[in-house]
Every structure is written in C-alpha cells, then in structure tokens.
Subunit: 195 residues, 3 copies
C-alpha cells in the first residue's frame, strides 16, 4: 500500500473466506477480515465478509449472491492450493463469463518474489456481469500482497467492465497512452533517467 | 527494437485492427499502421492492415482470411480488454488450433513493467496451420512493446510451426543449447561475469 | 541447484522422454538422463527413464503408468514446442484432473531470463490423484533450469496433493506466513534491509 493508490469513490466490495476450519469455527478467520481492511484502505466500501466451507456449491452460491448484490469486486481468500478440498478456482470458473489470466498471473508473480510457493496458487480472476471476481490465497501474506497488486489496476478494470469502453479507443490517446505519459511525467519529476 | 533483432527474409505478416470507432471512421486507426511499421522494421513484408469492428464474426473472418493467405504471422490490435464489446480473444480462440500461453504472458509481462494495467489485456497467442496469431492490445504503447517482444522469438516460432522440427531434438545440441552457448559467448564478449 | 533445496526423503519420481528420434534410436537421449540426475540431486528416488515417441497415445499411456505406480512426481521432457508433432501438453491435459498454471508459468519465466524462446514452450503442470505431472522442454538447458525451479516448491506441492492440507488454514499461522517469517529471519541474518 506504499503508493497509496486508491480506487474512485463509490466502489463496493465483498469478501468471501473459503475455509472448512473457519466455517466450523475451528479457527478464527484472519485472512477475510484482513482483506476487508486492506480493501477499505484503498477506498472500497466493503459490505460483508462471508465465510463458507471448501465446497464448490457453497462458493458458487456466495459468489452469485455478490454478483446479484451488484458489488464491483468480490475477493475470495482460501481454497486455491493443491489439496484435494481446494476447489475455489473450479467454483469460480462456474460463475464467471470471462477470465482475466494476466491479472491472476500478476497476483502470483507478486507473491513469487517473496515466497516461491506462491506459484502453487491456482487462483483465477474473472468477470461476471458488472462484477470482478478475484481469488486470493488463504494466507494473510497472500491477501496483503494481492490487494497491493489490485490497488494499481482495479479502478481501471471496473471502469472497463461497467462500460467505460476506453479499452478500444484507437483514434485518440487511449488509456495506455495516457498512463504512459503520466508515468513518464512522474519519472521525470523524480529525476529518474528512465523514460 | 534496440537489439535490432530481425526475422529471416521472406516472412509475411498481416495486421488486423479491431475497433468499432476505427471501423466506422470515428477515429483514424493509429495502432494498426504502427504495428505494420514496427513489423516491417524487424523484417516482415506486411501485406495489409485490415480494420474490423468489435464483432466476433468479423474478427474470425479476417483471421481466417489471413490463414488462407498463408501469412506467417497475423497480429491483431484492440478488443482485448474487459469492456463488454472486447471479444478479440474469444474470436481468436475460435480460429486457432493450439494456444501458446507463454508468449501471451511474455507480451503482458513486458507491458507490466511500464504500465500496470497491461495485465488487464486478455490477449492470446495461437497457431492455426502455418500461421501464428498474436493478439496485442489496442494502445500504441502496447503495440510497440509487443512487437519488441515478438522480435526476439517470432523467427523461431515460425520455423517450428512450419516444420523446422528442431523442437524435439534430444540427441545432439538442440536450439535451446545453441542459444545458451551463443548467449554465453555474447556475455563473454561483453566482459560480463554472468554466464 | 545452487541453493541445495532438497525434498523430504521418501519421494519417488519418474522421467518420460518424449522424442521420436530418441525413441527410434536416431539420437541418444540426453535430456531424460539429465532430468533423472538432477531430480536425484534434490532428493528424489528416480525409478525409471521411459522413452516414448511424439504420439499422444504413447505419452498418455506412460503418464498413466506413472500415476498407477503412485510416484509423487513425473517429469516429461520434450514435445512442448510449436512443431506439428509436439503434442506433450495435449496428451498431459488428457491425464491430469487439475492444472497448476502458476508453476508452468514460473518454469517458463525462469528460462525466459536466459533464453527468450523459452516462452514458446507450451508445457503444463497438473495433478492426477497423488501425482504431480510436470512438462519440461526437450533441451538440456530447459531441463536443468526447470528442475531448479521445482526444487523450491515440489516438496510443498506434494504435501498438499497428498492431503497435508495446510493450504487453507486460516486460523493459525499457515505455510505462507511461516515462509514469510523464515524469509524475514534469513534476510535479517544476511544484514539485508529488505523485510
């Protein structure tokens, strides 16, 4: 959160913790509340932290409820690994219409620099209607790193999904060109030689 | 283009701009001509820049025409984002027989270093017959960075696709080993300690 | 192998070389024995190096035999490129129940730093029953780099697959948090300022 990137005001998010042990009360859920707090810090209004067991049906129901509630973002934590009961990616794939593999890769790559086993997360990112669905791993470190990555892109993602439609503007300066110019200006301000 | 990597002579490419606004003439297409110019600089003979709207059917038709024309490479620009009308990856997936996810990832990763939102591109890379199909984003920056990445690998890719068949040579020194030796030699020439 | 990461004792692996030329004896197989040696160095008991031609059916049969033999890991080498007879990923996809795209990406990314054409490998990683299946490229360099990447994560992967189940522990300190703390301690020991 060092860059303090914030999303536009008015964006709503929901968190879904996927964990048998948190669901049965065997452990207190730490990752879900952490995700909610981190999303709040970047500007989301977080309506709820839902806890479900590692069951595909329960995960699908929770994700569809979030889509129906028309939140801009739903973040899951947990169930992305290789254990037999890790089914969050499969359940999420049932809900989303389109996947965004580059964002799922970026979430893993961010973790990989610190923790090599971050590559074992099978988490996906996808879009259903007006909602972006993001699978984060169950660890508190994975959640924290993941929200940091989201901070830089989720505002753009939501604008595109909700029909901002800047994504295929060829004639004038498009989002990418604007971003590039802004980055160049920022680098210049910093006295960096990198253009 | 700093390394001036060039593809073998005789390779032909086509560019397909996917953009409602460029198609209807609302804006002049900047990214398509830029892609054509950049591909020309690395050694491709570019036969055409086709402009189509953000419609899956139109994209499929344009890609199949490129395959039928037996070009070695067809590059699309536009329609890879999250907006509802961004359908280039889905249309491309209808055309290709096999995907090359590592190259799609590399294209995104190159952009990511400069522009975080590059990860939102859902562009794919695939093979149909003797043709490599590459989705680049619609921005001029994305096209420029993308062609830079392609420059280093597209010659190898085309050789494999057209049956060069070096890809599974186990007995002697294969492509990879040759590349490694060449890189080592180059590093040595530079006085770099990195082997 | 510089970090000398080793897997827990008792893990068994098998190597499958996929190559028409090695199969017909046109060339001696170098990559398969190298994979076996490298896996042995990180602690696996390697039971066999099987050589099969670039035929989907032969690859599927070899992979299913490895799953039936209940090895913890099966590594293929070869057949991951773009040549028409490169079918290892497609055959592997027929065998595995779940893919682990982040590990496949990490394997390619490791190669990419040295050899740009590493991104052309279409290799996948997946799980079938208690066995992790990993496609490496056919080159000796690709095998060596790949086993290096595996060394850091395959112990965790196998523990999760075989039901260690640490993957969705939310209440206490999970694998990721433990890793993070360990990394922090190590960095501190090194006098690095990076936490």
């Amino acid at each position: 959160m060092s860059r303090a990137a914030r999303v536009p005001s008015g964006l709503r998010a929901r968190v879904v913790t996927v964990s048998d042990r948190a669901y049965t009360g065997g452990y207190a859920d730490r990752s879900g509340p952490l995700a909610a707090e981190a999303l709040g810090l970047i500007g989301f209004a977080v309506d709820e932290v839902v806890v479900v067991p590692d069951e595909a049906e329960a995960i699908v129901t929770a994700l569809e409820a979030a889509v129906d509630a028309d939140v801009h973002l739903v973040v899951t934590t947990g169930g992305t690994g290789l254990a037999p009961r890790d089914v969050t990616p499969e359940a999420t794939r049932q809900v989303v219409d389109r996947e965004v593999p580059g964002l799922a890769d970026a979430l893993r790559a961010a973790g990989r620099e610190k923790v090599p086993t971050a590559v074992l997360s099978r988490g996906i990112v996808g879009v259903r209607g007006g909602t972006l669905v993001v699978n984060l791993p169950g660890s508190t470190g994975g959640v924290s790193d993941g929200v940091n990555v989201l901070a830089g892109v989720v505002g753009h993602a939501v604008a595109q999904i909700r029909g901002g439609g800047h994504g295929h503007d060829h004639g004038g300066m498009d989002d990418r060109d604007r971003d590039r110019d802004r980055d160049r200006d920022r680098d210049r301000d910093r006295g960096s030689g990198k253009a």
